[in-house]
Subunit: 160 residues, 2 copies
DNA sequence: TATTGTTATACTCTATAACTATA
DNA sequence: TATAGTTATAGAGTATAACAATA
């Protein structure tokens, strides 16, 4: 190509081969987190064929598995979902036969959420895949770096 | 309250005051990233009144500011957006008078994207707020921890 | 009155495919 | 044929408010 010496600085409009300047994005921790999150979501979908099974839907199923009989409002609090979002995610899993709502005899407002046998089986399968995916995501990190990353991310969240 | 000694373990269904067991979510780096990302988005919206100005829309405006005259396909590559997503975000900013599409005389397929005066002014304002927000997000971290976090997140993305 | 859950609405974001026009 | 951009559609996520049933 001609014009090999025409590097006239980042302000020149339209130079076709220059690399893109990310501006202040490169120095923003929040942007680094967001981009890493995109990578995590991509890895999730790469390991789980059914695109309708999303990270958020998995989170809820995992919480139901670890806490049988939780109320929807408790699931909402634990996952930082709205109550209406929890309703929709439970509708999704219930339609697939993976969770069930059981009435609480003592207080008829809340429903208690439980895994079905089919839900427990699917959850076990998803756990295996998600743990493998997380290990792969962290493949470039040493175990100490992995722990440090989790610690620093938790500190970020303390400002919530 | 009565029942102070009735902690019967995490499996008991419906114990109203027990804390929620997050299961394997607690050990997933990808989940820690996702939750930190939610915290970052919340901080972003807390500092910028207009809810229609989202992190993604800010990213694009910042890139246009740092690289006047880029093609949309270059913006898409740099931000990991689809071309159609870039079209919609540029439509959004153009409708607000913040960016403009200019024809490229040498090749009439691409349009070159530039900030308007109004766009440059808004971008400067947003940069100030976003940098302050990021500093606030990292308030619990030392500068060394902040750098380490950015380094580790970048390593996660290397698996993309 | 307050709480739990549902429903409805609206907007953002993502993904995909079909389409136009230009090269 | 390949590239740049647009348009259309669909699903997922989020936010809010109004609502019903129950406490």
């Amino acid at each position: 190509m001609s014009g090999a010496t025409q590097r006239l600085g980042a302000q020149e409009a339209g130079a076709p081969t220059r690399s893109v300047d990310h501006g202040i994005l490169g120095s923003l921790v929040s942007h680094a987190v967001a981009r890493a999150n995109l990578a995590g979501d991509a890895a999730f979908h790469a390991l789980i064929d059914d695109r309708s099974i999303t990270p958020q839907r998995f989170w809820l199923l995992e919480l139901v598995g670890a806490n049988p009989g939780l109320q929807q409002v408790q699931l909402a609090d634990a996952l930082a979902f709205s109550r209406s979002a929890v309703t929709l995610v439970i509708d999704y899993w219930q339609a697939r036969g993976c969770v069930e709502r059981r009435a609480d005899p003592a207080d008829r407002r809340p429903s208690r959420i439980f895994l079905t046998t089919e839900g427990a089986s699917l959850l076990a399968e998803l756990q295996t895949r998600v743990l493998a995916q997380d290990a792969r995501l962290c493949a470039e990190l040493t175990r100490a770096e992995c722990r440090e990353l989790a610690r620093l991310l938790a500190k970020l969240r303390s400002n919530e």
